[in-house]
């Protein structure tokens, strides 16, 4: 054994010294660790215990039941139906494929949703339930329950699903719900945690979307203890949420369904409103679609069929569509002239069938001309030249001011998607948007509701209601929410000379009730229900000089897209106006032939609150109307079914 160097006492002492020093430093470091431990565990203990609690406790949402939607009489328009779905928990199922194979003998499983479920299972934790079949029937549900022992991990679950019992009748008003999409979430700055629930349904269009806040309600919560991967260990407590608010609309289901049936086959829109307080009674757009398709997820083929249809079933034309109002605008021109005082109702204009304005010839619809025209006759017979002259005299500013007072170019505040502003053209508008100066020809066009002017059926109905009442009526669509009446603002007077309004109404009465009136064919017989209206036929194309020379082409001979829009507005009864109606038939031809009969039928239906007696119609129409009533009754929902949904 080698001991090369004697251990000097000097190096021994150095070693001891250094060892003590290092040992001391190490003990000092341990002391520091102890202090740190004391700081974390004693001084900050409360804070950290709270954090540990937050870690451990997870708050789960309990989705609230969505508010239901009713018509003014309590008929259910949108309700929650129990729906059954089948879920699988992977870790309980064991062999998932085998369980699904057994399940498929009991329940019809479609390939698509099965693939989606399989993909979802791969992604999610094995203890989370995955839906394999949605909206299964009660029978299938029972079969699964009975065979539960052979189906480990399979749970039949009951949920609520939105249902629209009246199908297409309220599709454009009530809208529909659908599962929340990433796009929906991206639009919301601070989304409700409810929206993070997979397949949570939110309103997509219409009242469902616009009143989403109230209808959705607020989530309840349940506190559960979870582990770090989110498995629920036990429930600690729960707090129920608030159910969504029920909405009652001002709409009348019976009238709405009737109007929808009456518009069948046309691409058309109609509005019925109470001209005393603005309550909307019917808002229709035809053709329509079944909103229930969207709730469960519409198939590509069905959706394509809807979007490819040239009648655009998905568009809510009554509020979103804008059309040149045509002759229904003439009341505005006339009223502006009366208010301005430049024309009195006695002043006449000579109509030779056309008017030359700055080297351009503007035609009257009647090529031969109307001869001497005063206000009453001009409105009754819808003479264009009279209004050309009047408009040139008072100028566009007065006309557009009057149009605005009557609600044109204004976006009315009702909870529907894409409510149109329309267009009430002014000098500044043309300068700013078109970069051109306003020319007299524009005024001439505007005077008869052509050119730049655009209005939605809703705006036309509001205009008519204002003319009939002399009040600044605003439309209202929601009657009450959760039983609390929505405020009905007292409509302010329009501030127009009552005498002038009376003359306009009188002329409108003549349109429907004077033999020479453009809508005489669509008159109402009983004195107490007589209507006052105005036809409109708005061009959607320019008539070239060559066409005019060859004689005006008849609408019937044109392709559908190029035919004129047919319009009709009216209020009734004439003596004590209750309702205002606006009807637009897209490319329907003449207002008097295509729109006025529809408006008359709707008016009668609204005033009689059901099918009117045949005596209300002129005698020569009665046979045709009888057949029509029977045909429409078949199209309307069975009253028995509807009552089934009535809220008590």
């Amino acid at each position: 054994m080698r001991r090369p160097n004697a251990d000097s006492s000097e190096s021994q002492r150095l070693l001891s010294r250094r060892a003590m020093l290092l040992g001391g430093v190490q003990l000092g470091f341990m002391g520091m660790l102890a202090l740190r431990m004391r700081y974390l565990q004693v001084e900050q203990s409360d804070q950290f215990r709270l954090l540990a609690e937050e870690n451990r406790v997870n708050i789960r949402l309990l989705p609230p039941a969505r508010g239901e939607i009713f018509d003014r009489n309590g008929v259910a328009l949108a309700r929650n139906e129990p729906s059954y779905r089948i879920t699988i928990v992977q870790e309980d199922a064991g062999d998932v494929d085998k369980v699904i194979e057994r399940l498929s003998t009991l329940v019809e499983l479609d390939e698509d949703s099965l693939n989606r479920a399989m993909a979802e299972m791969k992604r999610s934790a094995p203890f989370l339930p995955v839906t394999v079949a949605d909206h299964v029937s009660w029978e299938e549900m029972s079969r699964v329950s009975v065979n539960a022992p052979a189906l480990p991990g399979v749970t039949p679950e009951v949920g609520l699903s939105r249902q629209y019992p009246l199908q297409g009748d309220f599709a454009h008003v009530v809208g529909y719900v659908g599962p929340v999409s990433d796009y929906d979430l991206s639009k919301i700055a601070n989304p409700d945690p409810l929206l993070r629930i997979p397949r949570f349904q939110i309103g997509k269009v219409g009242v469902e979307a616009k009143r989403e806040g109230g209808l959705r309600g607020s989530a309840g919560t349940k506190r559960v203890e979870v582990n770090s991967v989110g498995r629920i260990m036990r429930e600690l407590d729960r707090q129920e949420g608030d159910q969504g608010q029920d909405l009652q609309l001002t709409l009348d289901q019976n009238l709405q369904s009737y109007v929808q049936a009456r518009l069948e086959g046309e691409s058309a829109a109609a509005i019925v409103m109470d001209c005393r307080n603005g309550d909307l009674l019917a808002i229709n757009s035809a053709p329509t679609f079944d909103p229930n398709l969207f709730v469960t997820g519409i198939s590509v083929a069905d959706y394509k069929a809807l979007t490819d249809n040239k009648f655009r079933p998905l568009a809510a034309k009554s509020v979103q569509g804008t059309y040149p109002p045509g002759s229904t605008f003439k009341m505005i021109t006339a009223l502006a002239a009366l208010e301005e005082g430049v024309f009195s109702s006695e002043d006449t204009v000579w109509c030779p069938g056309h008017l030359e304005v700055s080297d351009r010839r503007f035609h009257c619809w009647k090529r031969a001309g109307h001869g001497h025209m005063d206000l009453q006759k001009a409105l009754r017979e819808s003479c264009d030249v009279y209004f050309y002259e009047v408009a040139l005299e008072i100028g566009i500013d007065k006309i557009s001011t009057m149009a605005a007072r009557l609600g044109l170019g204004v976006r009315h505040d009702i909870p529907l998607s894409g409510v149109a502003r329309g267009l009430n053209p002014t000098r500044t508008w043309k300068e700013q948007v078109r970069g051109q100066n306003w020319v007299p020809g524009d005024t001439v066009n505007a005077s008869i509701g052509q050119g730049f002017v655009l209005a939605s059926p809703l705006q036309l109905a509001v205009m008519t209601a204002r003319l009939a009442s002399g009040l600044q009526i605003n439309p209202r669509m929601v009657k009450s929410s959760n039983g609390v009446e929505e405020p009905v603002p007292e409509p302010a007077p329009l501030g127009l000379n009552e005498n002038h309004l009376r003359q306009i109404r009188k002329a409108m009465f003549a349109v429907s009730n004077n033999r020479r009136g453009t809508a005489y064919g669509s008159r109402i017989v009983p004195e107490e229900f007589k209507l006052a209206g105005k036809t409109g036929t708005s061009q959607v194309r320019n008539i070239t000089a060559a066409e005019r020379a060859a004689g005006v082409t008849r609408n019937k001979d044109l392709p559908w897209e190029r035919r004129d829009h047919a319009l009709f507005v009216n209020f009734a009864p004439f003596d004590t106006p209750e309702i205002a109606v606006a009807v637009v038939v897209e490319h329907g031809g003449g207002g008097s032939t295509a729109a006025a009969p529809i408006a008359r039928d709707i008016t009668l239906q609204a005033l009689y609150k059901g099918d009117p007696p045949l005596e209300a119609y002129p005698s020569r129409d009665r046979r045709k109307i009888k057949a029509q009533q029977e045909r429409l009754r078949a199209l309307m929902p069975d009253p028995q079914d509807v009552r089934g949904g009535t809220r008590t």
């Binding site: 160097n5 251990d7 190490q26 660790l33 431990m37 565990q41 950290f48 215990r49 540990a52 582990n227």
Partner: protein
């Protein structure tokens, strides 16, 4: 003092050696390991499998290994130390070529019955060879640059190889452990001051190297440093470990939530709850009292080692005992600093408590060496 100066006859022989073991140290080691068994039982949700049972078996094996190593005279180990060091270097080179890749690092050789981590072994053989070196080196030459450079190279060579694996925790342990042996041996303090200054410079360089072509650390190591500096910046990502571990510690309070009542570890919020972060479970379930007790046990182990070293007049033995004790200290000091949020997460287990085979066996071998030095000390 040297072995030449005392009679070998005074050294106990045969089974009598068992009586001369440093029994208090064995009791302390067993107590610490017992804390480990209890915590492994708790984090498994009150079950001996999968961790507590193998750990108990390993510790029993470790005790046997320790006594076996202790029976062999310390001069044999001293003579073997340079060879052991070189053998470990060879093993480290081997893992470069045939080591299995796990967790992004090449660290072990699969021997079939166990996984050998040469880097663990290196912690002991490095200390041994340094002790042997300073035992051999005449005290006059201690601080001469050439004789300082030699051990520095002996430390840096394995450190560089471990860093390449990459295993930051072990590299730190090797460098610091080696430096401590040099310090105790009596190398002039000026060298340490110089190295500390250099180290600070290196840290600056490491940070400067980020996102450049000569980046010195891997991205995940940079991220660990980032999250150490500001764990709140990424509470669900890389900062998760530190944040959750602090929550567990803090929620323990004075006396803890009770055995097997810790929600943080039982509900799996704690990562690596049976290995690197096992201290958090102890602190959560037994609170400040439990944590300080374990720290006290560790402190006693250090104290007993230092006392044993001071009482031993053999220079190699003293240096080796102090070197091993320092390495042991570094183990738990780094681990505890890490879970208490005082140091970045570098992956150093809590000695004798964390679940793990080769670390525990190597530690028991090291304590066997200490026992051997104690039994065979000059009398």
């Amino acid at each position: 003092m040297s072995y030449l100066e005392y009679s070998v006859k005074t050294v106990p022989t045969g089974l009598r050696k068992v009586l001369f073991l440093n029994w208090p140290l064995i009791v302390l080691l067993t107590s610490v390991a017992g804390v480990g068994f209890m915590m492994l039982y708790s984090v498994a949700g009150g079950s001996f499998s999968p961790w507590a049972e193998p750990q108990i078996k390993r510790f029993t094996l470790g005790l046997a290994v320790m006594v076996t190593v202790a029976m062999v005279p310390i001069w044999f180990w001293r003579n073997m130390s340079v060879a052991a060091y070189l053998a470990t270097i060879v093993l480290l080179i081997l893992v470069e070529f045939m080591g299995s890749v796990g967790m992004g690092a090449q660290r072990w050789i699969d021997l079939g019955f166990m996984r050998l981590q040469p880097s663990e072994l290196m912690k002991v053989t490095l200390v041994m060879s340094l002790a042997a070196y300073y035992d051999w080196l005449p005290p006059k030459k201690l601080s001469r640059p050439f004789w300082v450079l030699l051990p520095v190279l002996a430390i840096l060579l394995p450190t560089a190889m471990v860093l390449r694996q990459p295993d930051l925790g072990t590299s730190i342990l090797l460098i610091t452990g080696g430096a401590m042996v040099m310090f105790i041996a009596g190398v002039h303090w000026g060298y340490f001051a110089a190295v500390t200054t250099l180290f600070v410079g290196l840290v600056v360089a490491v940070f400067q190297s980020r996102d450049t072509s000569w980046q010195l650390l891997k991205d995940y190591q940079f991220r660990r440093i980032d999250t150490f500096l500001d764990p709140a910046s990424d509470p669900l990502g890389a900062g998760y470990h530190i944040t959750q571990s602090k929550i567990a510690l803090g929620s323990g309070g004075w006396t803890g939530r009770g055995f097997m009542q810790g929600t943080q570890s039982r509900l799996n919020f704690l990562p690596e709850k049976h290995t690197d972060f096992i201290f958090t479970t102890l602190a959560e379930e037994f609170g400040f009292v439990g944590g300080i007790s374990l720290l006290g046990l560790y402190a006693l182990i250090i104290v007993f080692c230092v006392l044993a070293a001071l009482a031993n007049r053999d220079r190699f033995s003293s240096l080796m005992i102090l070197g091993i004790a320092s390495t042991f200290f570094l183990f738990f000091a780094v681990n505890m600093s890490m879970v208490m949020g005082l140091a970045p997460v570098v992956g150093v287990p809590l000695p004798l408590v964390s679940y793990g085979g080769s670390a525990m066996l190597v530690l028991m071998v090291a304590f066997g060496l200490i026992q051997s030095a104690h039994i065979h000390r000059p009398r």
